[in-house]
């Protein structure tokens, strides 16, 4: 579904991604783990068009999308839930969700999807009119995910959805990620919480200072001693 070939991304002089390649198949949950500053967010931003890779290819459903503007990438079916949620704080929950469907014209479909999102996140329905800036962290995360789903994506990019959330919420969020995946949405999940991520993922990549250093099925990787030592805590 998505194929990345050897992309390089720079911030000024900083070489943030050094020849990264990866592949995601239809229907999978793929997780990308790595330390702080390894380049995970950078990779997601390159896919969703917020950053332009200097070289390399990004192929989504047989189309080259590297360097395209974010708007056209959303249109093609990729939604990105950015790090730190980034909900539109001074708008209501409902307005945020509306914006998720900004590019869509099918009123009926939008309405359906809104129902679906509310079904997935009943909490959001309760808070429909509340300004999203006043939601709790977990609720904002749900909103960010719901908002992304409103674009009816085929590929959903999630950047550290569990960050800063209470354990209870972390569990809820992961449960929902699995649910979303079961409805047929492919997911690329970036996580610090590698234990959790590996437990729901099909496959995983490990990124270190801008390079992919390991990949394999989630099971394999969670068994690997090296990975355990570096990312899963030495217990």
């Amino acid at each position: 579904m998505l194929k990345i070939n050897d992309i390089n991304v720079y911030y000024g002089n900083i070489h943030a991604l050094k020849g990264v390649s990866l592949e995601i198949n239809q229907g999978e949950i793929v997780t990308l783990i790595g330390a702080n500053g390894a380049g995970k967010s950078t990779l997601l931003q390159s896919i969703s068009g917020l950053l332009k890779p200097k070289s390399g290819e990004i192929i989504f459903e047989n189309e080259h999308v590297a360097g395209k503007v974010a708007q056209s990438i959303v249109k093609r079916g990729i939604s990105h839930v950015p790090e730190g949620r980034r909900v539109f704080a001074n708008m209501s929950v409902e307005e945020n969700l509306d914006l998720g469907a900004y590019l869509r014209k099918d009123k009926k479909g939008i309405k359906e999807d809104l129902e679906n999102v509310y079904q997935l996140f009943p909490r959001l329905e309760e808070r429909r009119k509340q300004l999203s800036g006043t939601l709790s962290g977990g609720e904002q995360q749900m909103l960010a995910m719901g908002r992304a789903l409103m674009a009816r994506p085929r590929l959903l990019l999630l950047d550290e959805p569990s960050m800063g959330l209470a354990p209870l919420l972390v569990k809820t969020i992961f449960r929902i990620i699995e649910e979303i995946n079961q409805t047929g949405t492919t997911i690329l999940l970036v996580e610090q919480n590698a234990n959790m991520a590996l437990s729901i993922a099909d496959r995983a990549y490990v990124i270190e200072t801008g390079k992919i250093v390991a990949s394999g099925s989630a099971e394999e990787l969670s068994q690997s001693d090296q990975i355990r030592a570096a990312y899963l805590g030495g217990h």
Binding site: A35, N36, G37, G137, G164, L169, G233
Partner: protein
């Protein structure tokens, strides 16, 4: 628990923002040398509680005292001078300043030379600055930051920024250190290093620490006691074991069993 003297006493403290009671009726006590955790769901009011302790917000009710001295209504910088220092949930370093200067800023209240002597470059300026610099360098060695002394804070990797923030907070010479989610955004490996660091500074600086954290491994691993906040109110208090099995906490925060 040995009979340790009381350091911080919070009685019925609370604050409201408009109609919202962000924190209400919180009673909390810390003894010298303790390491205590503060947990609770997102938006429970934990950070707000820190803000009350440090004077960022003035409590609308209740009282807070450190070593028997009332802190209510004091400006944040005064509270810092009295001995409470903190880190922030979202890192707040002085980005354009070097690592060394970040720490020197925290030493500011110890500086004896006046603006006047600095402007005239009197000897007291040079001796004062020199002393600060030496102290800061010594200090940064403890935090393994001596190799980046002249790097701008914003250019440090995330983990080092967190460490620098803790170092800076300690440089202000607190009796009580407040850490707001120090492990946020760290992977389990980094979290473990952080736990070691906390243990180290506690020993070295004779500190009392109050810690907010969502990472249960860390909280349960290092804290002697834990307070649980929900909807601005304390719902539980106790040792890690007690908290882990407290049904209220499980319902509000932990979810079924944590491993």
């Amino acid at each position: 628990m040995t009979a340790r003297t009381q350091l911080l006493k919070v009685e019925n403290a609370g604050i409201r923002f408009g109609g919202l009671k962000a924190v209400s009726d919180v009673n909390l006590e810390l003894k010298k040398g303790e390491l205590v955790g503060l947990i609770g769901p997102n938006g429970a009011g934990k950070t707000t509680f820190f803000n009350l302790l440090t004077g960022v917000y003035v409590p609308t009710e209740g009282s807070i005292s450190l070593d028997g001295e009332r802190l209510n209504g004091l400006a944040p910088y005064r509270i810092t001078k009295k001995g409470i220092s903190r880190t922030f949930q979202n890192i707040r370093l002085f980005n354009e300043l070097s690592v060394l200067d970040n720490v020197k800023v925290a030493y500011h209240s110890l500086a004896k030379h006046s603006i006047f002597s600095s402007i005239l470059r009197l000897p007291s300026h040079f001796s004062g600055e020199k002393e600060m610099e030496q102290k800061a360098i010594e200090f940064l060695k403890i935090f393994k930051l001596e190799h980046v002394l002249h790097e701008k804070a914003k250019n440090l990797p995330y983990g080092q920024q967190r460490r620098l923030e803790i170092a800076r907070a300690l440089a202000a010479n607190p009796k009580l250190l407040l850490l707001d989610e120090p492990a946020a955004g760290m992977n389990p490996q980094e979290t473990e290093e952080l736990m070691n660091l906390i243990a180290l500074i506690r020993e070295k600086f004779d500190l009392t620490i109050l810690l907010i954290e969502h990472d249960m491994l860390l909280v349960m691993g290092v804290c002697e006691r834990i307070y649980v906040l929900d909807h601005g109110q304390l719902i539980a208090e106790g040792t890690p074991e007690q908290i882990r099995s407290n049904p209220k906490v499980i319902e509000a925060y932990l979810g079924e069993e944590v491993s």
